[in-house]
């Protein structure tokens, strides 16, 4: 896949000249990015380089200093909660640590979203919730459990089930495979792909998982030093000369993952 053209007008997310600061600490310095419909776009970078902050800014959980973010062609900065609601209906977010409501069971967590935002009757909501839980590959009895009774990997899947409850057009995944065993992580890889293929989702994910990047990401942006160091497919990025990108992809683990990816091809 080639690099997408700049700002054609139909991009799902278009970020322009975004600057974010915490006190004197500059997190983003004039960042511009676009995400095309139907693509799986990954944000990578060392810890603390502002990946999650960028995600939170797009989700309107954090205000930048300046810049513009357009989601589905609409400027999101400056929207109040009420104005943002139609937009939020089209988002699904999976937080890094799940952020499941601990007072509700997994099924109730998923059903709650449906109950709040659709007119479906309770029986149908229960069935759809069960379907979403099954879609994420959770075992059948997990729906009746409380988040505190689940393992880390199961909690991730439950969080994903809640994120896709309303069949969003745009899905944000924060570290979807962190803390998972290789088998579950591979399951998440397949799940992300099949969700994109079947539902035509646009997915933006933040990850450190190089296997996930090689296997599912269409395009990857590397963040570092407050800038975007490079954007492109994994193959393109792996040929770039920037020292940080090189370190990132050609560290011991990066090499292993890229060899794996080549073998698969």
């Amino acid at each position: 896949m080639s690099t997408a053209p700049e700002q054609t007008g139909d991009e799902v997310i278009a970020i322009r000249n975004l600057c974010t600061r915490f006190g004197n600490n500059v997190v983003h310095d004039n960042i511009s990015l676009t995400v095309q419909p139907g693509e799986i776009f990954a944000l990578v970078g060392g810890s603390g380089c502002g990946k999650s902050t960028l995600l939170r800014t797009i989700l309107l959980l954090q205000l930048p200093v300046s810049g513009s973010i357009r989601v589905f062609g609409r400027e999101v900065l400056g929207l109040n909660d009420e104005q943002a609601l139609p937009l939020r209906h089209r988002f699904g977010v999976m937080f890094e640590r799940g952020a499941l409501f601990s007072a509700l069971t997994v099924t109730e967590n998923v059903a709650m979203v449906l109950r709040e935002h659709t007119q479906l009757d309770p029986n149908m909501i229960a069935q759809i919730a069960a379907l979403k839980i099954a879609l994420t590959g959770l075992p059948a009895d997990a729906g009746l459990k409380y988040p505190s009774e689940l393992s880390g990997g199961m909690r991730k899947r439950a969080a994903l089930a809640r994120a896709i409850a309303l069949d969003p057009e745009l899905l944000f995944l924060d570290e979807p495979t962190a803390g998972l065993d290789p088998l579950s992580a591979a399951g998440i890889d397949d799940l992300v792909r099949s969700l994109r293929d079947a539902l035509g989702l646009t997915i933006m994910l933040v990850t450190h998982d190089l296997d996930l990047l090689w296997r599912v990401a269409d395009r990857v942006a590397v963040l570092g030093e407050g800038h975007i160091l490079g954007v492109g497919t994994m193959t393109e990025l792996s040929k770039m000369d920037h020292p940080i990108i090189k370190d990132y992809f050609y560290g011991p683990r990066g090499r292993a993952a890229s060899e794996q990816a080549w073998k698969r091809k």
Binding site: D121, Q127, A130, L135, D167, D197
Partner: protein, 380 residues
């Protein structure tokens, strides 16, 4: 035979229309989670043709998501279970793969919510819970006592810094609120008593009234209740949150006893702080009484204080202050114990915090009643 769904002109809404021949079914519109509510209601009432193979024509389906696919899949499966053959035509390729994805999911069997247990079961369970709670509390007191003893034998293991910190937060920082409420309490008692005493010309006995009631009963109780609400709840919430974030487990693996680190400093600090707070409450309470005595009964400050020395014996003052350490132990132990009872979730923290305050206040008042009985026997 029902011919057609209510014709809803909105393109967005999902519709299913049974054709004139009764065997071809047209699915139109957007079968997405926000558009299928009416259709789903409609499908429960629809009458299907008696027999024959059905053809679902989905060529006018404008959108399909997992919820819509599930509805389609469910409808088809229900008909198939009745021995009908269903053919779906005109489905776009990406919709086909979505339908397959949904069909491939093995769904959790719908388990009905457990029926409400009958009254006897509930009483039994409740009693068992109370019993568990009581025995757990006793075990906790025992554990704390043994660790306290152990620490006393090795005084350098006592965490003085933590004790001082707790003295600051539970004791010193509570001074303003305890003082203010106790002052108001003194004012109110004097105000209420003033009328009665004036009627008998017994103005001077205002000192007896305020002094005795504040020092013996009210200020220890008032202080204990304020501290239970202020610090007991904080202990439960702090330890409970640490339990949720596995900090307690981390302490254990590092080889530091949670009781030694978290409970003992709080317990010792509160046992020191509460009597001091009680004395402070005595002072401000009496001050309140004095202010009211002067303004309503013309009893001046020096007359009041002279009378107070005669009215309140040392033993009365000491019985009041002597109760405070016991109250302190109750508050600290209940708060910490409830904190350790937290299991896993945020609402559990809230529940145990509530329980800690209610139980602490209950036990404080109960033990106050016991003290009254004991003091009565001993003629103090």
């Amino acid at each position: 035979m029902e011919r057609a769904a209510r014709s809803i002109s909105d393109e967005k809404t999902a519709q299913m229309v049974i054709g004139a021949n009764g065997l071809s079914v047209r699915c139109t519109g957007a079968w997405i989670v926000r558009g299928i509510a009416q259709l789903e209601q409609h499908l429960t009432r629809i009458t299907w043709p008696e027999a024959g193979d059905l053809v679902f024509d989905c060529s006018d389906l404008t959108a399909l998501d997992t919820s819509g696919a599930w509805l389609l899949q469910r409808t088809v499966r229900e008909l198939e279970q009745r021995g009908r053959r269903i053919t779906i035509i005109g489905l776009r390729p990406q919709f086909v793969s979505l339908l397959q994805l949904v069909a491939s999911c093995t769904m959790m069997p719908q388990s009905a919510p457990a029926a409400l247990p009958n009254l006897l079961t509930r009483i039994g369970r409740q009693s068992w819970q109370v019993w568990l709670n009581m025995s757990g509390m006793l075990a906790f007191i025992g554990e704390t006592a043994s660790i306290l003893l152990y620490s006393c034998l090795q005084p350098r293991r006592i965490r003085w810094r933590a004790i001082l910190h707790n003295l600051q937060t539970a004791g010193f920082e509570a001074l303003p609120i305890v003082g203010l409420l106790s002052l108001l309490m003194g004012l109110v008692i004097a105000y209420q008593g003033a009328d009665q005493l004036q009627r008998f010309g017994a103005n001077i006995f205002i000192a007896d009234l305020v002094g005795l009631s504040m020092m013996r009963e009210l200020s220890p109780l008032l202080t204990a209740i304020i501290v239970a609400g202020r610090s007991g709840s904080a202990y439960a919430a702090e330890i409970g949150t640490m339990k949720v974030t596995e900090e307690i487990d981390a302490l254990r693996t590092i080889g530091v006893g949670p009781t030694e680190l978290l409970v003992l400093p709080k317990l010792l600090a509160l046992i020191i702080a509460l009597p001091l707070l009680t004395v402070f409450a005595d002072i401000t309470g009496v001050l309140g009484g004095m202010i009211m005595a002067r303004s309503k009964l013309d009893v001046s400050f020096d007359v009041f204080i002279n009378r107070l020395g005669d009215a309140v014996r040392l033993s009365s003052f000491l019985t009041g202050v002597g109760k405070a350490p016991v109250f302190a132990a109750i508050i600290a132990l209940v708060g910490c114990y409830q904190g350790f009872q937290v299991t896993g979730s945020a609402d559990s923290v809230g529940r145990q915090t509530t329980v800690s305050v209610v139980q602490a206040i209950f036990l404080v008042i109960l033990s106050d009643a016991l003290f009254s009985i004991v003091f009565n026997w001993l003629n103090i």
